[in-house]
Symmetry: C2
Subunit: 381 residues, 2 copies
């Protein structure tokens, strides 16, 4: 058995007690897998919506080599800090790494490796008061079924039963679900730390699966252009009908400030599409909107884009307290679009905030940083 380098550390995304995958000092990742009977094993980084882009683990696949005991190993080049999905290809069949925890991505439970960002503590548990992550079960009439939302309650929620809180609705990406913003994104720790530092006001965060269908959603991976529009329409309609039932359910179940001034909506990738399309249409519900790593809308035309909501900048700027766009510089197509979109909005007189995450791709480090930049701006109006 190959023994771990003494200065390497098991990834925090591993099952407790598993030494591999481990992170080397240069941020290369060493993977190991026991499969004496396999003829070929490879590590395959999670694929990206844009061909040629990497999720931070590089392009792969990486060929593993087998030792006498049947352990396959490989070490990648230095990885970009962040949270990177991957699969093992065992004789060409994509499977999970049993040493990894699983995370809902690509519409299934998927392996991932956490490559730590040197010096960053904002998304890990620190010695500060912690909020809770709750499974909230409710009956959704649109699907005639019981389902659960994930609800973050801030520190002190139980201890101050007279206090009411603003609410951020926060949506995952394509192929993910209501568990992703906390499991993959560590949204609860990001909020805990920002609230403790006095940078973000205590708020509830509601995370739901962005589909009201019984069927899972398709992912955003390389859809054909014709089905892409259909996909967009489907996910927007789906979230539109979800929020119609979800917001009253949350207001009835938690001590919310139940008005548009205290309700924000944000999402990443597919969730950014939902946030822009549904949020900008439902300004009766929301007064702040965030879109992290969203794809491009069809056109930029003040009279037509998003139903013409930008046609009267003065009215828009009075009603919408925050419109926030973000992308990583390691996802150049998304970054270019979002920057263009922000520039165009400014040009036509719409107030917009823009955040670019240095060096990170279409993955969770971009969205953790976006959340860190976004939430301190909320609910000061």
């Amino acid at each position: 058995m190959i023994s771990q380098q003494s200065d390497s550390l098991p990834a925090s995304s591993n099952v407790i007690g598993e030494e591999y995958p481990c992170i080397n000092p240069d941020l290369g990742v060493t993977f190991r897998f026991l499969a004496p009977g396999a003829a070929r094993v490879q590590v395959m980084p999670g694929t990206m919506p844009r061909p040629g882009e990497s999720n931070g683990l590089g392009q792969g696949p990486y060929e593993m080599r087998k030792d006498e005991q049947g352990y396959w190993t490989v070490t990648t080049p230095p990885a970009v800090p962040g949270f990177h999905y991957y699969s093992l290809l065992v004789d060409g069949v994509a499977v999970n790494d049993p040493a990894s925890e699983t995370f809902f991505g690509y519409s299934k439970q998927t392996s991932a490796v956490e490559v730590p960002e040197p010096g960053s503590t904002y998304y890990s548990p620190q010695p500060v008061p912690h909020g809770e992550v709750r499974e909230h079960w409710y009956y959704l009439k649109a699907t005639s079924a019981w389902r659960k939302a994930t609800v973050y309650t801030p520190p002190g929620y139980d201890q101050h039963p007279a206090q009411r809180y603003p609410v951020l609705y926060l949506q995952h990406g394509g192929g993910e679900n209501e568990t992703s913003w906390t499991k993959q994104g560590h949204a609860n720790f990001i909020l805990d730390n920002l609230i403790a530092a006095g940078q973000t006001v205590p708020m509830l965060v509601v995370m739901e699966c962005g589909s009201t269908g019984q069927r899972r959603l398709p992912t955003l991976r390389a859809p054909a252009q014709s089905s892409f529009q259909e996909f967009m329409q489907q996910i927007v309609a789906s979230f539109d009908s979800l929020i119609e039932e979800l917001a009253p359910e949350i207001d009835a179940s938690y001590r919310t400030l139940a008005d548009r001034e205290h309700r924000a909506l944000a999402g990443l990738s597919m969730g950014a599409v939902q946030s822009l399309n549904v949020g900008l249409k439902r300004l009766d519900l929301f007064s702040a909107i965030g879109a992290f790593s969203g794809p491009a809308p069809e056109e930029l035309d003040a009279q037509r884009t998003f139903g013409g909501v930008f046609a009267d900048p003065e009215t828009f700027n009075r009603r919408v307290h925050l419109l926030f766009l973000a992308a990583g510089t390691g996802e150049p197509v998304h970054e270019q679009f979002n920057r263009n979109f922000a520039d165009w909005l400014e040009k036509i007189g719409i107030h917009v905030a823009y955040y670019a995450s240095p060096d990170t791709a279409h993955e969770w480090q971009t969205w953790r940083r976006s959340l860190r930049d976004f939430t301190p701006r909320l609910f000061h109006w």
Copy 2:
């Protein structure tokens, strides 16, 4: 592609939208897996602590057959209703089924299939008020690390901020963790339904990983006899130090009734070992103890077993309001032991309650039923 039988239903343990595994009318399970490149694929039911016993899916492995598209399928004989772990063996390598949700078992994220019990509604969400399942993050000094407990709060907990509640500490089995009693066991739905029916008093349920070590615990699978004693000592010492910190943490964080009269401890399999060994020693903390499918202690001797706690039956019966043992008739070794243990306790004058789950094995249907039988008995003293 083989199409699903029209009267078959996708397992509720599947990823949403996945049609396979599906449950046929005779409770046989049809599995399907896409692997055009594999030479051999088998379905392997989760192994049991006693050789020759089945978890309800039968012995396996079941050979799958490949069609022209590369889909492998097989249908098992009728399965016993319950929650059954399984793996796919791809050219001999055990992997998860991507169509299944994952559940922490065998010290990793594992596939499982839910075979419904005809007519049973007690462990699924019903139109009744629902409690919440919360991630409670706290710092455990014994490990110098942040970790999370799972806490069930009963319906109405937030709405009645002056009410205080009794607490059941509920432990998982070997190779499982703090998520298992709700994810695999549906403990939250069992409590919701019993509380709604007025059969169980509203209570908090605290579920933690039964190890304070940084390393995961070994499983109970076929340990060598010498290491078995060591294993027992380790898990008992581990839980002993955990509960020392966990109980005050819970009492400080939730509105508990913080005395022994309102604190119960129960567990399954490995958790039964912890419940009996720690609970019977810590009668200052607990007044009710449940052991579901526990293994046999070394000897039955009133002066020596569990530190001689049974030596004075009158004192014991006055202090311990409930001692509860359970096992499934489909796990004959465990059932025989627990029945003998209960018989012996009665013979020496110790009050004990015994529950036998008909036809179920060393798996979650036994433990769901045990919990259903156990909790209505709690906290009426």
